[in-house]
Each structure stands twice: as C-alpha cells, then as structure tokens.
C-alpha cells in the first residue's frame, strides 16, 4: 500500500514570500471559523483522533493548491465519507460536544502522555541515528531528518505514538525525545546559519549511533 504525504515541507524549495499578518486577524472568509469549529466538534465526538485528522489532510492530492482551511474542510469531508456518517443508516455519535462543555473541554485538552511500561532506551546526551526509510503510513519524522545523526537533548516521557494512532492501530505509547542536529548534518557542509534544528521523535524512529 502506498502512502504519500504532501505536507512534509521542511527544507524544500519554496520561493513564495512569507506574508506577515497582524495579531488578531484570524479568518479571511466567513466560512473559515465554521470549518474550524466543525472540525473541533467532530474530533470531540471521538469518531476519529487528531492523528487521523492529520493523515486525512496530508494525503489530499491537491494539498499544495488549497488554503489552510480548505485543507481542513476537504479532510473533514473525507473523514465523514470514510466513516459513513452522512449515510441514512449512520449510528449516533459516541459523544456530542455541547455548548456548555466547550470551555471545560478546551481547558482540559487531550493529554498525550501515558505511564511508562518500561525504561527509556536513550538518555540526554546519547547520540542516535534516525530511521532512513519512508514508512507506508502516517509518520512524524520529517524527510529532512531521516537517516541523520543527532543527540538527545530532552526526554519527554511516554507519548501516544502518532504512527499507530493515525492508522487505527491504537495508542502504542512510546518514549518521546527531542533530537538536535547540527545544521551541516541536515543540509551539508556549506550550511552556515549557525543553527541547530531539533525534532521530537518517538523511540521507534531511533537507533543508537
């Protein structure tokens, strides 16, 4: 089965300008806030999770042509179609987000940390090499950081694993680390930004280096 993300943009050639925007300018059409709210409310029903949302968005064939909220809308339509919600015989939702629960629901969020079942494989300071392969499913290791050597700079505890959670295979919680790379490891010896880039990577993305 092939899986292609159209959203993995780090380090790619993009000539467009970065158009600045004043604080407080949140939407650019009246339908945008409705799409935002519909997306949040449908995720709150529990019929799918955040990682499934991301997978639905990044696999849209026309991802690069769409505006941000057009992406959200198209992904929401895709998830609804896949789940059969719009059909006559659809089951009632597991939960419905009621207006009076919105403030508490947002304030609680959806914590992703879980109790560890075993010790962490890596510690701060360890050198690691990231996986080089491109898995055939949703994943959160960006292309530019695959097959690279970096150092563990933070250990975040055990978090829900995006790869399995997006695929409906369960949370399979894994240790999560911040891995920092020297710019030359990522972009070659000519890179002279005086920069360090980090990603947050789950343990299955890593091996000792």
């Amino acid at each position: 089965m092939s899986y292609r993300s159209n959203a993995d943009l780090g380090g790619s050639v993009e000539h467009g300008a970065i158009i600045q925007e004043p604080e407080g300018e949140l939407f650019h059409a009246p339908w945008e806030p409705r799409v935002l709210a519909l997306t949040l409310a449908m995720t709150a029903t529990g019929m799918w999770n955040l990682d499934m949302n991301r997978a639905a968005r990044e696999t849209l064939a026309d991802y690069r042509k769409l505006s941000y909220y057009e992406i959200w809308l198209a992904a929401l339509e895709k998830l609804l179609a896949d789940s059969g919600v719009l059909q006559e015989s659809a089951n009632p939702p597991p939960r419905v987000l009621r207006a009076e629960l919105v403030a508490a629901t947002l304030a609680r969020g959806t914590p992703f940390e879980r109790a560890p079942a075993r010790a962490a494989r890596f510690a701060v300071g360890d050198k690691v090499r990231t996986r080089a392969d491109q898995p055939a499913h949703h994943t959160r290791l960006p292309g530019y950081a695959r097959g690279k050597i970096g150092a563990v700079t933070r250990v975040h505890g055990v978090h829900v694993f995006a790869d399995t959670n997006a695929s409906g295979l369960g949370e399979c919680p894994q240790w999560l680390y911040t891995i920092a790379f020297d710019e030359r490891e990522l972009w070659g010896d000519d890179s002279a930004q005086r920069s360090i880039v980090s990603v947050d990577a789950w343990e299955p993305y890593l091996e000792p280096a």
Binding site: E21, E25, H28, W31, L97, V102, T105, E113, S198, D200
Partner: protein, 207 residues
Amino acid sequence: MRDGDHEHHAEHQASAVSPLELRVRALETVLTQKGYVDPKALDALIDAYQTKIGPRNGARVVARSWCDPEFRRWLLEDATAAIASLGFSGRQGEHLVAVENTEDVHNLVVCTLCSCYPWAVLGLPPTWYKSAPYRARAVKDPRGVLREFGIELPESVRIRIWDSTAEVRYLVVPRRPAGTQHLSESDLAALVTRDSMIGTGLARAPA
C-alpha cells in the same frame, strides 16, 4: 487580499455566496440534523478563539517570567504546570516547553509537517505560520526568514529551531527590552508580540 482590500472585496461579494460557503453550510446543516454537532457549541468554540484564547495569554506568561525569577525557573523547568498556574491550559497546550532567548541563543518555532502551534498560550496560528514558504525555509534558512521579518541577528548568536513534530508545543520567551525596569507586569506584557513568542520577532521597545 489579506487586509482592507479583502473586506472591501467581501462587501462587494456579499450578495453572491461562494461555493465554499455553500459547502460548509451544507455540512453544518447535515451534521446538526443528524445530531453530531450542536450549533451553539460551534459558536462557543469560535468565540473562545476570538475572545479568550490568544497571544495575550502568552504575553502574560512572558511578562511574569521577566518579573518573577521563581516563576521563570518554574517555567523553564515545567512550562505546562507554570502556565496552568496562570489559568492557561488545554487543547494544543497539553505539553508545553518554554525556551528562552539569551544573548547567545535565539529560538525559532515551526511545524514543517502541518501547523502545530501552542494554541493554549498563543491562540490560532497566523496564516504565514501554516504556509509552505515558512515551513520550508525556517529549518534550512532561518536567518533568511528572520530577515524577512526585519530581524538581523549578530553572527555570534546561534539559532535554535524547534520543529514541532509531536504533541509538545514550544513557547519562545523573548529577551526583556532594555530600559523597562520601571514598567509594571501588565505594561511589560504589552511589549510582548505574538511573533516574539514564535521567534520571528523581538519584544517591542518601550515607547
């Protein structure tokens, strides 16, 4: 199209409803009829991000850290707990890390894979943060990106880029501007811009 022009344009188009608007209305109608969404909850969600959850929350966190060394230590050690003590928590802020700019290090936050952003303290991300040019270039050409925002950092400053690839969300604590010793915490918060908490800006100098 992103400023006054846009509104002007929208006024002219007021009578004609766009196909996108129709698509969204149709979706909202069918989901409401089937009992999946409560339209009042949609209104409440939008209101929360328009009036309650935005970058002024993060600015309060930063101003407190400038004024209170004990809070600053806590923020850098356990941002989620320190920030919750000011009443900010939850969606897209469940696991927060605060990273502090210094004389030697400038932090910059990006999400190259989508648009992960610390909603609980900064609200909804600006359009440019979600755009391809920012996501593509922030990791590879951070000095070029900063220049586009009008910031030229000395060569001696190392740039530390945080790509938000999991559910940890990063808040940049900008440097406190000089000449602000006499300012109150709320006056200080007014100097803390949204962009300064992403790393594409600096805190404003006092007037």
